[in-house]
């Protein structure tokens, strides 16, 4: 087990290295530079700016220098937000997106699991049809439409929640719902499919035959197995949801890393782009690792040591 985790962590660094390398050179190949503006700076000023941010060196030199910085935890300065380091920017914005993402994830799990279990157990009933219709809608309606609908309802029609912003719990409810509901829909559908499959298995029949209460059969025996596809979905989904969503952050004016990432790319703020990519890749890889580890608890058939053999 430990060996497996260590090996995966080793691969984490290899993957990060590859991500940085590809992205570094892609960023350089893309036309445009961070110092251009509608009021063009003079040649001299531009040359000084290039020098200041090390952009006057050759690409390989810049690359080596950047990698050297990353190794010691220095992700470089932001070219746009002068005086800010990429690490402080990430430290400012990532917790915001992560906090929002966690709440959204909780919403996704609560709504998704309940809906999935109910419709799985009560297959082809009124409950199944209505919940699954809702899930289909949740998957197909983009989150910005959900966000707009929430604003229309809870701000203008029934003034209950603040319209946008960040800082209080009430400001969190709508963005978390807008972000979490589409995920809830996925979770619901997966749970339902898992449930339907598991509930027809022999060991469930055995459980029922030996006289267990239906509640116990579902929650104790069936759910654990039905959750397997959900868990593997949650790995990448968690990484995605924690690193924020451009659309939801924009609509609700949330100072998260999602907007930062997109803006830094359009601004050619090279170091910020690379920094956020490193964060995103790390989260993605780590959560996939966590999912794999969780599998051993949920499914005794999976054994890490053997998969490595």
């Amino acid at each position: 087990m430990m060996l497996f985790i260590l090996k995966r962590i080793g691969w984490l660094f290899v993957s990060l290295f590859i991500v940085i390398t590809i992205c570094f050179f892609v960023m350089k190949i893309v036309p445009g530079d961070p110092f251009s503006s509608e009021k063009a700076p003079s040649e001299e000023v531009k040359a000084q700016l290039m020098k200041k941010y090390g952009q006057d060196l050759s690409w390989p030199e810049q690359y080596v220098r950047y990698l050297g910085g990353v190794v010691v935890g220095d992700l470089g300065p932001s070219i746009k937000y002068k005086g800010n380091d990429v690490t402080t920017i990430i430290a400012d914005t990532l917790p915001v997106s992560a906090a929002l993402g966690l709440i959204a994830l909780v919403i996704a799990l609560i709504f998704g699991l309940i809906a999935g279990i109910v419709s799985g157990v009560r297959q082809n009933t009124f409950w199944d049809y209505s919940l699954m219709s809702a899930a289909i809608m949740g998957i197909s309606i983009p989150s910005f439409v959900i966000a707009m609908a929430l604003i229309a309802i809870f701000v203008f029609w029934w003034p209950l929640l603040p319209i946008a912003g960040w800082g209080s719990i009430s400001q969190l409810i709508m963005p978390a719902l807008a972000l979490g509901l589409p995920y809830a829909a996925y979770v619901a559908r997966m749970t339902r499919v898992g449930m339907i499959e598991i509930i027809r298995q022999d060991f469930i029949r055995t459980a029922r035959a030996k006289g267990l209460a239906e509640k116990s059969v579902v929650m104790k025996h069936a759910l654990k197995h039905a959750l397997l596809p959900v868990v593997s979905f949650l790995g990448p989904a968690t990484a995605g949801i924690l690193t924020g969503s451009l659309v939801v952050e924009k609509i609700f004016a949330i100072p998260g890393i999602g907007t930062m990432f997109v803006n830094s790319a359009t601004n050619r703020d090279y170091f910020v782009v690379l920094g956020t990519l490193i964060v995103y890749s790390t989260l993605l890889i780590v959560f996939n690792l966590i999912v794999d580890v969780l599998y051993t608890f949920l499914d005794p058939r999976v054994q890490m040591e053997k998969t490595n053999a």
Binding site: K39, A40, L49, Y81, K82, G83, V155, I251, T259
Partner: protein, 744 residues
């Protein structure tokens, strides 16, 4: 047992608990005045900022020599209580107030010393702070993008661009060594001056401090024996000194037996200019004298600009690149930076140590960072923000229809009928401010900006290199200009009250009258006439490529481009393709002249035609059309830049009259008037005539296709004072406040 459920429960409860622990139900208190910006401010360092949003906050937390009048933008006393202008208008003497200190959040001298506050707190604001700030902007190493706003100062351009050769023509080069003769040295640094060429040590020290492009810069500065003061000034470099073995310290500055100075250079480029004395002097702590290179009529306008703000040397030296962040910043303006949440919000608090604090009516100002334009509108409607400085295009007609008094009066906003008239706002400093109308709702006013298309004059068909006639490119450009119905564009597409533009300099420019008849108005008959003339000269329709219109990706620009495409097809019969590029790529393409037609916009930096016209000089940094005209360059760079000198020199004066005449502008009478009785006012008039001639020439050659003049759109909460919709839509936050007593 129930392992999966426990796990699930933990996954839900732990983050929730953590979250509530972090945010424990804190509700925000609203600031006295709240407005929104689209993106976090790039920086509050006046030398480094480029944006309008940054300038707005910087001018609230810092105060320059002069400040903008909120309505007319005329210079109001700021750190300078008064100023004198010399007769030749080349020397400005500012008398500074002696009652303002540098301060920061939380600092109150009543509670004891400035210890524990950022470096510089509590110091008086003196002339030296301005000199430090301005030198810093012009220091090439600072790489300030707006340094050109200081180019009026004597020697500033050379100082900033390191053009050493100009002033030090006497520098002889031999290999990697520059040699300056003793005579030149003495001329440059006369005995008895600040730096005496006779005093080798003083000169050596000065050179090490001021010159760049010396080899091993850090080594030199770190040489403790010969440069103690430099080491003291910069402790970071002192650290480097310790790391370097003494043997590595060498001296590239030496004298030969004839007293000539030899300087070893790091590379074969020139020696930097920092020898040059900038035209800045501080005879005492509260007097600042600024010498100009040439008469600059708009000089007192630009001294209010953010690049001119003073900064505190101790603070900058102590914190380096990070001096302008909330924990370190030391300021002198009407507001203090109290809090700064990246990408979220900035809070300004009234500076209780500000000299004019009784006129600062808002206790606090909230700057919220709201990236979505619709979100901004929503927040305005909900009464959470008091001022919107832009609107999504789709909303403009809605706001116009709603009118001024009732526009989006949200639940928390009283309508004008519900409340008594607002009390008058008296400003003893300038009674003119009384007239600030107490606007409410949506307000459109002319704005000093032009939206136009550039023609690429280096590429067929608009180029002048047609084998049959040089005129063909120009005729085609004029034909295109006449073929666009700008009125329809403004009324049916933009719908925001934009003003159709037939010329380039915006119509609201004070003191400038556009010459009659120079415009390229919409006229299909003329358009076809010019096209026919081009054909007569040998242009064949089949050489017209499918033109492409380049614009940066945006729905607004796309709509305009599609309209132009349609108009060209309809009125001239040519096919045009649209091409959009992401912002930075578009900038790259326009600078490389990789387009046929491209969109552009220009916003004036100051209230003078020069800010619009000087960009089209040959190889101007923002020209981007490839257009070049000798006469135009002469108008802008000779006559308009230094009208007094042009008038003083007899042959130049004759040329000026003839050149203006060639553009149909008659200046003989004013010039004669001026010669009889020279006044600054007449110089200014002649200068404006020169600009008129220049624009006439520009519109004759039309390297650009003007489309419309911008309008500013402010949406203002009821009871808000100080937002006047002036020509540059500058909102000096000092004067802004919301009369909350009007609210229920």
């Amino acid at each position: 047992m129930f392992k999966s459920l426990q796990l699930l429960g933990a996954m839900i409860i732990i983050p929730l608990a953590g979250f509530f622990a972090l945010f424990g139900g804190q509700e925000e208190e609203r600031e006295s005045f709240v407005y929104a910006e689209m993106q976090s401010l790039e920086t509050l360092d006046p030398a480094m900022m480029t944006g309008v949003a940054e300038g707005r906050v910087a001018q609230a937390v810092f105060e320059g020599l002069t400040t903008y009048h909120p309505e007319t933008l005329a210079p109001l006393p700021g750190m300078a209580t008064s100023w004198d202008v010399s007769e030749d208008e080349l020397t400005y003497t500012f008398h500074l107030r002696n009652d303002q200190v540098w301060t920061c959040r939380g600092y109150d001298p009543a509670n004891g010393s400035a210890e524990g506050f950022p470096a510089g707190t509590g110091d008086p604001v003196v002339a030296g702070d301005f000199i430090f700030a301005l030198e810093r902007v012009l220091d090439p190493e600072t790489a300030s993008q707006y340094s050109y706003m200081l180019y009026a100062i004597k020697n500033a351009i050379n100082y900033n661009t390191m053009k050493m050769e100009i002033e030090f023509a006497e520098v002889h080069r031999s290999g990697s060594e520059a040699v300056i003769s003793k005579a030149d040295l003495l001329a440059k640094f006369p005995p008895g001056g600040d730096v005496d060429a006779g005093d080798e040590n003083a000169l050596r020290e000065f050179l090490k401090k001021k010159a760049t492009n010396l080899p091993g810069d850090a080594l030199l500065k770190a040489d403790p024996a010969s440069n103690e003061s430099a080491a003291e000034e910069n402790s970071a470099e002192e650290a480097t000194a310790e790391e370097i073995a003494p043997a590595a310290v060498f001296d590239p500055i030496s004298w030969d037996e004839h007293g000539n100075l030899h300087i070893r250079l790091a590379d074969d480029k020139s020696l930097a200019v920092k020898f040059l004395k900038l035209g800045l002097d501080a005879p005492d702590d509260y007097t600042l004298v600024i010498h100009l290179d040439a008469v600059t009529p708009y000089f007192l306008d630009i001294t209010s600009f953010s690049t001119w703000l003073p900064v505190n040397k101790k603070c900058v030296d102590t914190y380096g690149d990070k001096w302008a962040i909330v924990n370190n910043i030391v300021t002198n303006g009407s507001y203090l930076l109290a809090e700064d949440f990246f990408q979220n919000k900035m809070v300004l608090k009234r500076n209780e140590l500000y000299w004019d604090k009784e006129h600062v009516r808002s206790e606090s100002i909230g700057v919220r960072i709201i990236e979505g334009e619709s979100t901004q509108v929503n927040l305005y409607c909900a009464g959470e923000i008091d001022w919107l400085n832009s609107l999504p295009q789709a909303q403009v007609p809605v706001f116009i229809a709603a009118g001024r008094d009732t526009a989006y009066a949200g639940a928390t906003r009283p309508s004008k009928d519900d409340v008594p008239e607002t009390p008058e706002f008296r400003n003893p400093l300038d009674p003119g401010l009384d007239t600030n109308p107490n606007y409410e709702g949506f307000m459109r006013t002319p704005y000093l900006g032009t939206y136009y298309y550039r023609f690429n004059v280096t590429r067929r068909p608009f180029a002048t290199n047609h084998e049959n006639s040089k005129e063909i490119g120009r005729l085609l450009r004029i034909a295109f200009c006449h073929a666009i119905d700008k009125k329809m564009l403004c009324e049916d597409i933009l719908k925001g009250g934009q003003i159709p533009a037939d010329t380039y300099v915006p119509s609201g420019m004070p003191g400038y009258t556009r010459p009659a008849g120079i415009g390229v108005e919409f006229n299909t008959a003329k358009a076809r006439q010019y096209l026919k003339e081009a054909r007569d000269l040998g242009f064949r329709d089949d050489e017209m490529p499918v033109l492409n219109i380049l614009y940066n990706t945006s729905e607004g620009h796309r709509q305009i481009a599609a309209f132009i495409q349609d108009q060209i097809k309809q009125n001239l019969g040519f096919d045009v393709e649209l091409q959009n590029q992401e912002w930075r790529v578009y900038l790259d393409s326009t600078q490389k002249l990789d387009y046929d037609l491209c969109r552009a916009g220009w916003i004036g930096d100051y209230t003078d035609p020069n800010t619009f016209l000087d960009m089209f000089v040959t190889d101007g940094g923002n020209n981007n059309t490839g257009w070049s005209n000798e006469l135009y360059d002469k108008f802008i760079l000779t006559y308009a830049r230094d009208p007094r000198r042009s008038l003083a020199d007899e042959s130049l004066r004759a040329q000026l009259i003839a050149d203006c005449q060639s553009q149909g502008i008659d200046v003989r009478e004013i010039v004669e008037d001026y010669l009889a009785q020279p006044t600054a006012q007449k110089v200014a008039q002649i200068r404006m005539k020169v600009f008129e001639s220049a624009e006439t020439l520009l519109m004759h050659d039309v390297p650009i296709l003007p489309l419309y003049f911008y309008v500013s759109m402010n949406t203002i909460a009821y009871g808000t004072h100080g937002i006047t919709g002036n020509i540059r839509n500058i909102v000096p936050l000092k004067w802004v406040w919301v009369d909350r007593s009007l609210y229920p």
